[in-house]
């Protein structure tokens, strides 16, 4: 097995194990930190998929932004020293079964579908192509999502401010 292959499997395993930690750990803060590693792993996968720009955005937005936000949320709402309650609800058993089923079914679908695949070579750079697409073909969605971000910004500010 070439080194790249080994690294790939390591990254994949790392991602999945971290994700399981996120889901199964009882300490919320540990979950958040495991999520961080999992997101890191996903960024690694992106690099294997020749999507260097997306990987960068993943690092900046997910890890730098969203994950920090989540940790903030935990800090703001949970007293760390508070009594440890059960972190899962009564559906735990049923949920586990259903999630397992879901995974098995999706995997079945994946293995049974003859995916269309086109050979291609690694592009020299993706950023300029993405930039051009964003400002030409996807200009309208781009503008729409910018409006959405603005709305989310205002909404979040409105929701979280002190009631007066």
């Amino acid at each position: 097995m070439p080194v790249a292959e080994i690294v790939f499997w390591l990254v994949a395993a790392f991602t999945i194990i971290s994700a399981s930690f996120v889901v199964l750990n009882n300490q919320l803060l540990y979950s958040a930190i495991a999520l961080l590693f999992s997101l890191f792993g996903v960024a690694g996968l992106y690099i294997f998929l020749w999507a260097d720009f997306i990987a960068g955005i993943q690092l900046i937005v997910y890890i730098g932004g969203i994950n920090v936000l989540i940790i903030f949320g935990i800090m703001l709402t949970n007293k760390i020293s508070s009594v440890r309650l059960s972190q899962t609800n009564v559906q735990q058993g049923v949920g586990a079964v259903i999630a397992l089923w879901l995974m098995i079914l999706i995997s079945l679908v994946i293995s049974k579908t003859p995916w269309l695949q086109i050979e291609s070579s690694e592009p020299s750079e993706t950023v300029s192509v993405i930039g051009t697409l964003l400002l030409s073909k996807y200009l309208l969605p781009f503008e729409a999502i910018s409006l959405l971000l603005l709305g989310a910004l205002i909404g979040a500010a409105l929701l979280s401010r002190e009631a007066t």
Partner: protein, 679 residues
């Protein structure tokens, strides 16, 4: 080197603006030295550029730099800078006058509450004007054009506590906007036809007939409308006299080098695309404005109003020159006019300043310090102001050996030759020479009333003093620049404008096919030169002589004549009732129309149409309501509701209100769907 230097010249005042607006109040001396440092560095760079232009002595010198501003596939906008001889001269003029204004203002606005903000706006103003000068395309010119509009608004309204100042700034801004609409339409017409904003592309496009005929005429007139607004040409001249509400140094800057010069500069730049029809419009607007504004200036009592109308009149000259084809003469007049008119404004500022102080000593707050009827006999008290203003007055009146003579003569020669080729347009030289006569008259009237004769308020005269050195410095400098010699170097001829300017700014052929060539025009002007010269000397001296008999010798009584020509006198003094007529025939009818429309909307439409609908609906809904209640509600709806109620109580058990239950159900559903699909 030229592009780099011009960028420094452009952005240094902007830097000063930013520093001043944010930190001005905290800096020592309210930061005026920051602005002065920036503008003086700009001036030094402009002088260096000017010197290397003179040493290069290349009439075809041109440097261009551009970059892509917007690039979206087919749609591209490139912005850039163009440096040629015209630009370099203009940069020098703007930075020189701006520097003088900065220096002058340190004294004139001493102790003003918005001292640092004033200097910030001066920087912004200079920046935007330099932007216009440097633009190599219409779109960035338009942007800087609007910036000039904004900064003039800010500066005219500097003392916005005064209602008249606030109104004047609004008026200036809105009147300019009228012209700018035309400007924008012109830009769009040209872009639509040629697909580029850059001057070079536009000239080539016009030459290759990508845009012709009426469209081109309309585009040219549209662009010229912008120039009309900024250069306050008839009928958009109304803002400029009111703009005197701003501080006097600003008036000097605005009416000599920056704002109003922008219009002429635009007209000169777009000259190659003006069709013969558009040129005629330009010529008539300019010529008429020249005479018309001069005739108003005769009767004004406010020293700044006289200068304001004289500015309008002189701008009319320049526009007239563009219209008759001698557009380099227009630019030459712009150059000489900038120097002597700025000087006249500084001089009037100096006079007003000392009047103000004298009145302040006497605790007299009712007398208008700008009214010439309160002045007189200041010659001995303010010798420097007097002499420097006297030189500039000689220049503007068109007396030989002074700068104004050369440029005015060039314009009048062009006009005369145009009328010789087209006798049906004989009115144009009549406008020109008539305005020259009146100009000489009213300028000397202003000088005589202010500096000569007996003081009208003898109790004041002891308190009138010469202004401090920082104010007289610019006066001496610009007064000296009123002599012919600076403009005709290296030839020392005082009879024609031949000099470094005519060598370096050579008229180019119009791009419009069929327009007369530059050579043809300049030959014609050359032929008419001598006749024009004698005529203009004659009218200048007649004007001065008349003024002398009226106001010094007093063998003719000004009062008696004003009574004899009462109607004309009243018209002129009231500026031909333009503001009143605009108010009566433009603003008021618009307001009345709006009120009528509002009345129709409310009284007829709302009350009868909309409310009628309401009543009709009301009736119909009553009928429907009865049927609805008895027929449908009791049987059908209640029956359905009972069924739904029963079913609901069954399904209620599923409705736990717990979100995660729902997610569970959804996932179950998903799994079932997948099983159905896959197997």
């Amino acid at each position: 080197m030229f592009i780099d230097y011009s960028l420094y010249i452009l952005f240094l005042p902007l830097l000063a603006f930013v520093i001043q607006i944010f930190f001005g109040k905290k800096l020592p001396r309210q930061g005026d030295w920051v602005s002065i440092l920036a503008i003086v560095s700009s001036l030094v760079l402009a002088v260096i550029m000017f010197a290397s232009m003179i040493s290069g002595y290349d009439p075809n010198f041109k440097q261009e730099a551009s970059f892509t501003w917007i690039d979206m596939g087919e749609f591209k906008i490139r912005l850039g800078f163009l440096v040629d001889n015209l630009t370099i001269i203009m940069l020098l003029v703007v930075t020189l006058i701006s520097t003088c204004t900065h220096l002058f203002s340190t004294e004139y606005l001493k102790g003003d509450i918005r001292y640092s903000r004033y200097f910030a706006y001066l920087g912004l103003f200079t920046f935007s004007m330099n932007g216009i000068v440097l633009a190599n395309n219409l779109i960035s010119m338009y942007m800087f054009w609007e910036l000039v509009g904004v900064s003039s608004y800010l500066l005219i309204g500097h003392w916005f506590e005064k209602k008249s100042a606030a109104d004047a700034s609004k008026k200036a801004f809105l009147t300019n906007r009228v012209g700018d609409i035309g400007f924008f339409i012109g830009i769009m017409l040209i872009y639509n036809a040629i697909g580029s904003f850059a001057f070079g592309d536009i000239f080539n496009g016009v030459a290759s007939e990508m845009i012709t005929g009426t469209t081109l005429t309309l585009a040219g007139v549209g662009l010229f409308m912008g120039a009309m607004g900024k250069s306050s040409q008839f009928p958009l001249h109304i803002w400029l006299p009111d703009a005197m509400e701003g501080p006097t140094p600003v008036s000097a800057l605005m009416h000599a080098a920056t704002m109003v010069a922008a219009g002429v500069y635009l007209a000169v730049r777009i000259f190659p695309i003006l069709t013969p029809d558009a040129l005629l419009v330009v010529a008539y607007v300019g010529g008429f404005t020249a005479l018309f504004a001069a005739s108003i200036a005769i009767t004004q009592r406010d020293i700044k109003k006289v200068l304001a109308y004289s500015t309008v009149s002189q701008l009319g000259y320049m526009i007239l020159a563009v219209g008759t084809g001698v557009y380099t003469a227009a630019f030459f007049h712009l150059l000489t006019h900038a120097m002597f008119k700025a000087n006249l404004f500084y001089g009037s500022g100096s006079v007003i300043h000392s009047m103000h102080h004298a009145l302040h000593e006497k605790h007299d707050h009712d007398t208008d310090p700008q009214d010439m009827m309160n002045m007189g006999g200041f010659r001995k008290k303010m010798p420097i102001t007097h002499w420097s203003m006297f030189l500039s007055t000689l220049a503007i009146a068109g007396v030989p050996f002074f700068s104004g003579f050369l440029s005015k003569d060039a314009i009048l020669a062009g006009t005369l030759s145009f009328a010789q080729h087209h006798p049906q347009h004989f009115l144009l030289p009549v406008f020109g020479f008539g305005a020259a006569l009146i100009t000489a008259f009213y300028m000397f009237r202003m000088m005589f009333l202010t500096f000569y004769g007996k003081s009208q308020m003898p109790e004041l005269i002891d308190d009138i003093h010469e202004s401090p050195k920082i104010m007289t410095g610019p006066l001496v400098l610009l007064g000296g620049l009123s002599f012919f010699i600076w403009y005709t170097l290296p030839y020392f001829n005082f009879m024609s404008s031949h000099g470094w300017f005519t060598d370096l700014v050579v008229p180019k052929d119009s791009s419009v096919p069929g327009n007369p060539s530059a050579d043809y025009i300049s030959k014609g002007a050359h032929h008419a030169h001598h006749l024009a010269m004698y005529l203009s000397i004659a009218v200048a001296f007649i004007g001065i002589f008349l003024s002398w008999t009226f106001y010094i010798k007093k063998s003719l009584s000004a009062e008696a004549w004003s009574k004899r020509l009462r109607l004309l006198y009243r018209w002129s003094q009231n500026k031909y009732y333009f503001d009143e007529n605009y108010n009566k025939y433009l603003y008021q009818p618009t307001l009345r129309l709006a009120k009528k429309v509002a009345w129709v909307d409310w009284e007829l439409y709302d009350k009868y149409f909309i409310n009628g609908f309401g009543r009709l609906t009301n009736l119909a809904s009553r009928v429907a309501g009865k049927f609805d209640y008895d027929g449908i509600d009791q049987v059908l709806v209640d029956g359905t509701a009972k069924i739904a109620n029963f079913l609901g109580s069954l399904l209620k058990t599923v409705q736990t209100g717990k979100l995660q239950n729902y997610v569970l159900y959804v996932t179950c559903g998903l799994i079932i769907l997948m099983i159905i699909q896959t197997f």
